[in-house]
Amino acid sequence: MAAEILAEGVCYQYSQSSKMALKDVDLRIRKGEFVAIIGPNGSGKSTLAKLFNGLFVPTKGRVTVDGLDTRDRENVWKIRQKVGMVFQNPDNQIVATVVEEDVAFGPENLGVPPEEIRKRVDEALEIVELKDFAQKPPHLLSGGQKQRVAIAGIIAMRPDYIIMDEPTAMLDPVGRKEVINTVKRLNREEGKTIVLITHFMEEAVEAARVIVMSEGRVVMEGSPREIFSKVGKLKAIGLDVPQVTELAHRLRGQGLAVRNDVLTIDEMVECLCPLL
């Protein structure tokens, strides 16, 4: 059985709506991958995320996690243990009055023995670099720190897949960097599969693969370089590209010999130096 999340011909319709939120989505998330999903508001990104751990089941088609069909009620608990979710607002995800108790909440509910919980909580706080905050009340933490507590709570449940639905939308630039660095570490050092839904293109650039959604469909898929080099197409569906990528695109239009797949400031400096 393949270690992957697989969506096959997935359609989803909200009960009060006449429109399909997702239309014929085929998608494969392999274990160990770091995938970013971008798309305008209403393109179906969050709906898709909720289908990955069985919060929603497809109206048509099917979603399987390591071969387990989300439509089968018997599988729900197994799937939820494999697939953790992190949401936008950290304040809605924190339940306890002390950081380490909050992180322990998930494994406690899974019936994990106390010594094992202690071990998992310490490990999780270590990974998100909040060990010194274990005894602090969460409401005294910054937004970025709170979101990392929420992530630690998920890690402590030991999921293989972590789906993050705009985890940085409510954070300031420092908080955003903290969370993105944590996400990168989870993927590279802990081997967690990450699906990151985001509006920030600089964050999508960090992923190995980018999926672009528009009007309920997957419209583009590829490496960040492939995706962001298509400046015109992204703009047409209402998305941004990083400023330096757009600049490179415009300079090429003016006949300057720069690459069309520039993603970072340093790459752009390298491209431009011989020309200036």
Binding site: N41, L247, L251, Q254, D266, C273
Partner: protein, 287 residues
Amino acid sequence: MPIVVKNLTHIYMPGTPFESVALRDVNWNVEDGEFWGLIGHTGSGKSTLIQHLNGLLKPTWGEVIVDGVNISERGVNLREIRQKVGLVFQYPEHQLFEETVEKDVAFGPKNLGLPEEEVTRRVKEALELVGLKYDEIKDRSPFELSGGQMRRVAIAGVLAMKPKVLILDEPTVGLDPRGRDEILGQIVRLRERQNITVILVSHSMEDIAKLVDKIAVMHKGRMVESGTPKQVFKNYEALASIGLDIPQVTHLMIKLKNKGKDVATDVLTVEEAEAEILRAARRKGHA
């Protein structure tokens, strides 16, 4: 309508174990018709500062003078001040509450005791200002609109009060790039049509750089920088040291300059960077 902030200090819960100094000796002059960007981290004092501008908070020390009136003086009509200084909070759509869009936007002007025709006129105008069609949207429930539309209805509710100063706290948080550009575009048009003073609180340097006349930077309760975007971004090292970004293109030009390239670094937008790089490349015969 000018706002003058003089030696403003604000202490939350003074004399208790929870005492914390949110603002320290802030001085700020906002001239009539200016467009300001206010930046700083969460906890830097931005929100505390803007809540003083319409009297929601009172200075512990110092003064806030709105249109020549010291607003902490006894007998000042705060209702009048709040009508002149409109404040749009973060996630303003959470404050929608009426059954229809029309009723929601009309709530403020109605409370002013304006005649019904005037209320309707204002509602119409405010909705058009935020790019919504009065006839199409007035009878809908605000709760069945998209996130971007809800936010615009909430902003219209403030505009219907006809403020002379409009303060927006992170108006684009959580919106996609198109929603963000729509809201920011409407703010620019609003200024052109009504010549009101605007203060925009934002984390996004790239948005702020292309829109505002002046930037004020808050850090740990102090106003550490203020001036035109070009002046403020010149001190990029100071900004970086307090964890604030400058626009990517400004950063790019500074890096090129540091490599010994002859380029101007006071660049704020992609268009300006394009022009400057083309100029430098042409000089070298590469374009």
